[in-house]
C-alpha cells in the first residue's frame, strides 16, 4: 500500500474533521455522530458482504456484543472505559469467528448463510432479554461521568472526532485489504469459490479471516454507540435495525468499495432526515424511503453510488479521448 492510497483517506478525514469548527448545532453533530456509528458498522459489513460476497443479515450480533461487552465491563467489573472499548472490539471479533466457524465449516452459502446469521442474532437478542447480566429487558445504563478518562465528553464534537478516527482506521484497513493477497483471495472467492479453490485458495481460512475482521469493525461501532448514548437494551443492541442499516449503506454507496459504506450512510441518513423535515416526524417513513432506495439501487444501479460515479467518470474520459482524437 502506497502513500497514494492513504492520501485521499487522510485528506477527506482532515476535511471532515473541520466540520465541528464551522457548526455549532448540537442536532447536526448528533446526526453526524450517529451516522458515523452506522458507517463504521457498515464498513465492517462491507468486508464480509461486499468484498467477500457473503451476505449477512445478522451483523447486529457483532454490534450488540461490542456494545454490551463495553457496558458490562464498565458497570459490573469497573474496567476502565478505554480498555473496555478495546475488549469490546475483541469480543465482537470472537463472536464473528465463532459464528463463522460454525456456519462456514458446515458449508453454508448464499441464502442459507443469511438465514443462519439472522438466527444467531435473534438468539443473542433473546439471551440478552433474559439474563440479569445484561439487565434483561430493562437494559443497562453506563453511569454518566463526563471525563475523558471515562471515554465520555461534554462536547459532541469530541465524540465526532473519535468516531472519525475509528472510521479512518477502518478505511485504511479496507484499503490495505484491497492491496493485499488476502484481499485478492477474498474477492476471488466471492466471484467464484470453486475456481478460487482450484487456484490454491484456502477458502475456509479466508472466510474466517473476513468474518473476524468484519465483526471487529462492526463491534467497534457498537462500542462507540454504548459510550455515546450510555444506554442499551436488547432491541437496540441486537435488533434487526442495525443489521439492516449495516447492509443498506454499502449497497447504496457501493458494495466492495472502500468509501461505499460512508457515502451510503451519509446519503441514507441525509435523505431520511430530509424526508422527516418534509413530511414531519412520522415514525417509519424514513425507513420506507430506505426500502424504496434499496429496491431502486438493486434494480437500476447495483454498483451503488460509487459505481455510478465511476461510470460517469469513465464516460467523461471517453468523451475527452474522442474529442481529442477528432481534433
Amino acid at each position: 500500500m502506497s502513500g497514494r492510497d492513504v492520501l485521499p483517506i487522510v485528506v477527506i478525514g482532515g476535511l471532515l474533521a473541520l466540520i465541528p469548527f464551522g457548526v455549532a448545532s448540537n442536532t447536526l453533530l448528533n446526526f453526524l455522530v450517529f451516522t458515523l456509528i452506522i458507517a463504521i458498522a457498515a464498513q465492517g459489513w462491507n468486508v464480509l458482504g461486499g468484498y467477500g460476497g457473503q451476505i449477512s443479515f445478522g451483523h447486529s450480533a457483532f454490534f450488540g456484543t461490542g456494545a454490551y461487552a463495553t457496558a458490562i465491563l464498565q458497570v459490573h467489573a469497573g474496567v476502565n472505559a478505554w480498555l473496555a472499548f478495546g475488549l469490546g472490539i475483541l469480543a465482537g471479533a470472537l463472536v464473528g469467528l465463532a459464528i463463522g466457524a460454525l456456519s462456514f465449516r458446515a458449508g453454508l452459502r448464499g441464502s442459507y448463510f443469511a438465514l443462519i446469521t439472522l438466527a444467531f442474532a435473534e438468539v443473542f437478542r433473546i439471551v440478552a432479554n433474559t439474563i440479569p447480566l445484561t439487565g434483561a429487558a430493562t437494559g443497562i445504563l453506563i453511569k454518566l461521568d463526563a471525563r475523558p478518562v471515562n471515554f465520555q465528553f461534554h462536547s459532541r464534537a469530541a465524540f465526532f472526532w473519535i468516531g472519525l478516527v475509528i472510521m479512518l482506521v477502518a478505511l485504511i484497513a479496507t484499503r490495505a485489504l484491497e492491496r493485499s493477497r488476502f484481499g485478492a483471495f477474498l474477492v476471488a472467492l466471492r466471484e467464484n469459490e470453486d475456481a478460487a479453490k482450484a487456484l490454491g485458495v484456502d477458502t475456509l481460512r479466508v472466510k474466517l479471516g473476513a468474518i473476524t475482521l468484519s465483526a471487529a469493525i462492526t463491534g467497534a461501532a457498537g462500542c462507540l454507540y454504548a459510550q455515546y448514548f450510555l444506554y442499551l437494551d436488547p432491541t437496540i443492541a441486537y435488533g434487526v435495525w442495525i443489521s439492516v442499516e449495516a447492509l443498506l449503506a454499502p449497497i447504496v454507496g457501493g458494495l466492495g468499495t472502500a468509501f461505499g459504506p460512508l457515502i451510503g450512510a451519509l446519503t441514507l441518513h441525509g435523505l431520511g432526515n430530509l424526508t422527516s423535515l418534509l413530511v414531519g416526524r412520522v415514525p417509519g417513513i424514513d425507513l420506507v424511503v430506505y426500502g424504496i432506495l434499496l429496491v431502486l439501487v438493486i434494480a437500476f444501479a447495483p454498483t451503488g453510488l460509487v459505481g455510478l460515479a465511476h461510470r460517469v467518470r469513465d464516460r467523461m474520459r471517453q468523451r475527452t479521448a474522442l474529442s481529442a482524437g477528432a481534433a
Binding site: 460476497g53 451476505i55 443479515f57 460454525l102 456456519s103 458446515a106 453454508l108 448464499g110 441464502s111 442459507y112 443469511a114 438465514l115 443462519i116 439472522l118 438466527a119 444467531f120 435473534e122 438468539v123 433473546i126 439471551v127 432479554n129 433474559t130 429487558a137 434487526v240 439492516v244 447492509l247 449497497i251 412520522v282 415514525p283 417509519g284 417513513i285 425507513l287 420506507v288 430506505y290 426500502g291 424504496i292 434499496l294 429496491v295 438493486i298 434494480a299 447495483p302
Partner: protein, 290 residues
C-alpha cells in the same frame, strides 16, 4: 415437574398454533420450491394481511372468517403483481439480488404500516373470541381450534390444486425443471407469479384465522417469519408435507419451551433447532438435496 394434563394442554395448544405456523410456512416453502428464492418479505406481507383484517373489521364490521373471501383473492393478485412487476424485473435473475429486493420490500411494507397505524398493539373483538371447546381432558380456545381446522383445510386444498389441476402441474413442472417447462410452452414468468400469489393468498387466510385470537403490531410479522423460516428449513425447502409436519413440531416445541423456560427464553428453542438443522441437515426432513 409439571402435571401430565398441563403438559398435554401445552402439547395440544402447540399443535393448534403449529397448524397456523404451518400455513404461514406453506407459502414460503411453495415459493422456494418453485422460484428457488427465499422471500424475506413474507413476514411483512403477513403483517399487512393482519392489518387488512383489522381494517375490514373496524370499518365494515366484517367477520374475519368472512374476510377470507375478500382478502384471499386480493392478496393473491397483490402477490402476483409483486413477483411479476417488482421482484422479477428488479433482481435481474441474481440470487443475491432477490434476497435484497425482498428484504427491501419487507422494510417498505413494515414501515409503511408503522407510519399508517403507529406501533400500538391492536386486536379485534369478535363474539366468539373467548369461547372454548371442551374435549374432556382440557378446554381449548374455539378460535384456535377453528384456525387449526382451517389451516389443515387450506393445506389440503393447496395440495389438491397442485396434484390435480393443469396449473398445478405446470407449477410442479417449473419447480422440477424450469428450462424444460419453458420448452414445452409453459409461461414460466406467469407460473412464478401465480406461485407467489398463492403464497401470499395463503398468508391472507392465515391472517384471518389468526386475528380472532391474536393481536397485531407492525413488527408482528418479523416474529412469525423467523418461525416460518425455521419450519421451512426443518421440513425441507419446497416440501408441503414437510411444512405441515415441521409446523406442528415447532408449535409443540414453542409451547413446551414456554412452559419449561418461560415466555422469553422459550423462544430460544426454535432458533436453536433452526441453527442445528442448518448446520447438520440443511435439506431438512423431507427436502430434496439443495
Amino acid at each position: 415437574m409439571f402435571a401430565p394434563d398441563i403438559i398435554l394442554t401445552a402439547v395440544l395448544n402447540g399443535l393448534l398454533t403449529g397448524a397456523v405456523y404451518a400455513l404461514i410456512a406453506l407459502g414460503l416453502t411453495l415459493v422456494y420450491g418453485v422460484l428457488h428464492i427465499i422471500n424475506f418479505a413474507h413476514g411483512a406481507l403477513l403483517t399487512a394481511a393482519m392489518f387488512a383484517v383489522l381494517v375490514l373489521r373496524l370499518t365494515f364490521g366484517l367477520d374475519p372468517y368472512l374476510a377470507i373471501l375478500v382478502l384471499a383473492p386480493t392478496f393473491y393478485l397483490a402477490g402476483y403483481a409483486l413477483q411479476r412487476f417488482v421482484i422479477g424485473p428488479a433482481s435481474h435473475g441474481s440470487d443475491a439480488n432477490i434476497l435484497l429486493v425482498t428484504l427491501g420490500l419487507s422494510i417498505i411494507i413494515e414501515n409503511a404500516l408503522l407510519a399508517l397505524f403507529r406501533s400500538d398493539t391492536r386486536s379485534i373483538d369478535v363474539p366468539y373470541g373467548f369461547s372454548s371447546v371442551d374435549i374432556g381432558i382440557t378446554l381449548l380456545s374455539l378460535p384456535r381450534v377453528i384456525a387449526f381446522g382451517g389451516a389443515l383445510m387450506v393445506a389440503a386444498l393447496l395440495w389438491a390444486f397442485l396434484e390435480l389441476t393443469d396449473t398445478g402441474k405446470a407449477i410442479r413442472a417449473v419447480a422440477k425443471e424450469r428450462l424444460g417447462a419453458s420448452l414445452v410452452g409453459i409461461d414460466v414468468e406467469h407460473v412464478y407469479a401465480v406461485t407467489f400469489g398463492l403464497g401470499t393468498a395463503s398468508l391472507a387466510v392465515a391472517a384471518c384465522l389468526l386475528m380472532p385470537s391474536f393481536y397485531v403490531t407492525p413488527r408482528v410479522g418479523n416474529a412469525f417469519v423467523l418461525v416460518a423460516f425455521t419450519i421451512v428449513v426443518l421440513g425441507g425447502m419446497g416440501s408441503i408435507p414437510g411444512a405441515l409436519i415441521g409446523g406442528l413440531i415447532i408449535g409443540v416445541v414453542e409451547s413446551l419451551g414456554g412452559l419449561y423456560l418461560g415466555e422469553s427464553l422459550g423462544q430460544i428453542g426454535i432458533f436453536v433447532i433452526f441453527i442445528l438443522v442448518l448446520l447438520l441437515r440443511p435439506t431438512g426432513l423431507f427436502g430434496a438435496k439443495a
